[in-house]
Symmetry: C2
Subunit: 417 residues, 2 copies
């Protein structure tokens, strides 16, 4: 089964909005084993949308549109699909009922009511969050156009709860895709280690580098999900083995999503002390539901005064070594742990930039320390090559802190091999 995505919205072509919808839809199609060979963006323009729909229907079995279903005048997707498929818009009773529920006692305008009109013969997909329902419109020869709303918070639940079950009846075969996530290795080095594993056609392995992270994707295609997974599994294992302990997980979302469950399993607690990351590490930790079981206290000691008062960093030490120093990072981690009764303390101090650097302590220099009952471990991030920005630097520093803790918790060497 071949599919294409057509994302509708002038804001996408002006670069005001990033097309996350297409990625969400692509991921679901991939999991269903549907081949997505094209994705397009068109503006809020009925003529170009019509051209794109007609062309897509000549070569694909399934066309999924995102956006243009709302109440405003430039929401044109439904009208255009109705024209292309020859199915006139009709009021859909259940969708109107849901709109009425949504508005309750508030008045509903004619434009709002327009959202309850669907092309004749559609299968409606209720909107769990917003007002515009989605739908699947038959387009002849067993083909379908599926219309989804633009806001990701509306699209995502509709996709999972309604569209995927709808498509499962049509999809043949399945793709299994595994992401082997790493921290502490570059793409070039990773490629060298797995070079001879990347030549196959099914399963395949390929390296990808994103902002501050490198991962390997292993993909296999087979008759069903279980067969595809079984086909991919040995290659996933081989990649893991080659890359070694820089691999922090397969199909996990982040370092913190690996570290927090392990802390919770062990019933051990963590205290954070952050200077240049300014709360980012605590934020990442508390992104994880259930973090409260192991994380009670986080300190953002951006100023020296806060480092002294909340963490007891000695004024002498700050004067002698400066706030950005291995001594202060260690002291922050150690005192965070001991003063606030944690099993672990993490301390981060550095210069995230773009300003504040000196020849001796350049922008990008960050010290990261982990304190546990049996020792303190230090990482140094030194500026390498060109400065990649404040966000990158802070994110990377928080990653190093989580990686130190991961290595301790899983009994790995404290530095990448």
């Amino acid at each position: 089964m071949k599919a294409e995505i057509i994302s509708v919205g002038t804001e996408l072509l002006l670069g005001h909005t990033i097309n996350t919808d297409a990625a969400h839809v692509a991921r679901e199609l991939s999991a269903l084993g549907v081949d997505l060979l094209h994705a397009h963006v068109v503006g809020d323009n009925a003529g170009r949308l019509e051209d794109a729909l007609r062309e897509a229907l000549t070569r694909s079995d399934l066309v999924i549109t995102t956006g243009g279903l709302g109440p405003t005048d430039d929401d044109l997707t439904k009208e255009t699909v109705a024209r292309v498929t020859g199915a006139p818009l009709e009021e859909h009773a259940a969708s109107l009922e849901q709109l009425r529920e949504y508005f309750g006692s508030r008045p509903m305008s004619a434009n709002q009511r327009k959202q309850a009109f669907l092309p004749r013969g559609s299968v409606a997909f209720p909107n769990a969050v917003g007002t515009a329902p989605g739908c699947a419109v038959p387009a002849g020869d067993g083909k379908f156009v599926i219309l989804l709303p633009g806001p990701p918070s509306e699209l995502l639940p509709m996709l999972r709860e309604h569209v995927t079950p709808f498509l499962q009846r049509y999809a043949h075969g399945a793709i299994a895709s595994f992401m082997v996530h790493t921290f502490g290795i570059g793409e070039g080095a990773a490629e060298l280690r797995i070079k001879d594993l990347t030549g196959g056609a099914n399963p395949t392995a390929a390296t990808y580098a994103t902002e501050g992270e490198m991962f390997v994707r292993v993909t296999a295609k087979a008759a069903d999900a279980a067969a595809a997974e079984a086909l991919a599994a040995p290659l996933v294992e081989a990649v893991r083995e080659r890359l070694g302990d820089v691999v922090y997980g397969v199909n996990v979302s982040s370092l913190e999503s690996v570290v927090l469950p392990e802390l919770i399993r062990r019933g051990q607690t963590l205290v954070t002390a952050e200077s240049c990351t300014g709360g980012l590490l605590a934020k990442k930790i508390t992104d994880q539901p259930g973090a409260s079981a192991v994380f009670g206290t986080g300190l953002v000691t951006y100023a020296n005064e806060a480092k002294m008062r909340l963490l007891g960093v000695p004024e002498d030490m700050l004067r002698a070594h400066g706030a950005v120093s291995p001594e202060v990072a260690r002291c922050m981690a150690e005192n965070a742990r001991t003063r606030y009764n944690g099993d672990f303390g993490l301390g981060i101090t550095g210069i995230a930039g773009p300003d504040g650097g000196t020849p001796g302590k350049p922008v990008g220099l960050v010290y990261i320390a982990l304190s546990a009952a049996d020792g303190v471990w230090l990482r140094v991030m030194r500026p390498q090559g060109r400065y990649l920005g404040r966000d990158w630097t802070r994110n990377r520093a928080a990653g190093h802190a989580l990686d130190l803790l991961r290595r301790y918790l899983f009994g790995l060497p404290m530095n990448p091999d």
Copy 2:
């Protein structure tokens, strides 16, 4: 001048990567007044990329590709563009020199060296961050194909420093685009207020809703940037006036980017005390370079024990009202300010979910307080409609805290009108 974007990468069609590159390129083209009418994604497949390139060149003057320039075997963009434009790949001396500098004393593989090959007659764009240079390849009839690397950290500086100056010579006319950002109004309500302003063809105004935020985009097209801005300005003012004090800025990146400079200008300091947002508010504040002038201490008091110890929240109060209560939010804000010598204190306590709700205190209930020398102000976020998730809830709560401070700093009513 008409342009299209072709993004190359199987990871985009599998949904593993979100296409931020296309948004970055689209924004630059829009600023240059270049009409972007189409954007596509194709996988790492030379045949489909070739088809897409040939089709794009029949109807557009400029085709910009992103991705597929790296050293690995599935990086095929350069080879395919060379075939389509008939310009063979040749070693480019300056690019090879830059590669040599990048690698320094480390060995450079043949695959790495491949990156210094460019189609004959290209204008090279050096890569300030990574290894693969970009280039502009003449495609006949005054048309060009511009090749850019996939990693956004490489693409962005290349775009700004090299591609925009290159294109400025070819672009005719300019688009001015203004984003009027709001906090505290829904899309429906905003549309009603500006309904009669949204009908024009040039300038145009349109509402957009993204995750937890609503903005109005005003766009005008004219012969040059100054004329386009002058054309848009009266409509921007009219939109601002209609929407009132929910507007926090025009062409600003975030609430914090408005609040922090004003705090810095006033020389006033802020202390944060966060429970459910777990550091997110401090992180947003310290996203702003220069935050250290006004932000020295942030407290993540996730546990009751931390609320008592660091903020002096009375145990009796926690027992009587619970940690998620107006009393505790006020006390957190007030004591953050007084104990840590700030001019302002912000306190947040709530239930971000997905677990931890009770009938009396459901998931999504958050109390947010601002303390200043002359009073304490409270906001309540009550769950409305369906639960939109932990990230949404935390982000919205931090937004409310920043909006309270914004209203105080700019002398506005403390709640939206």
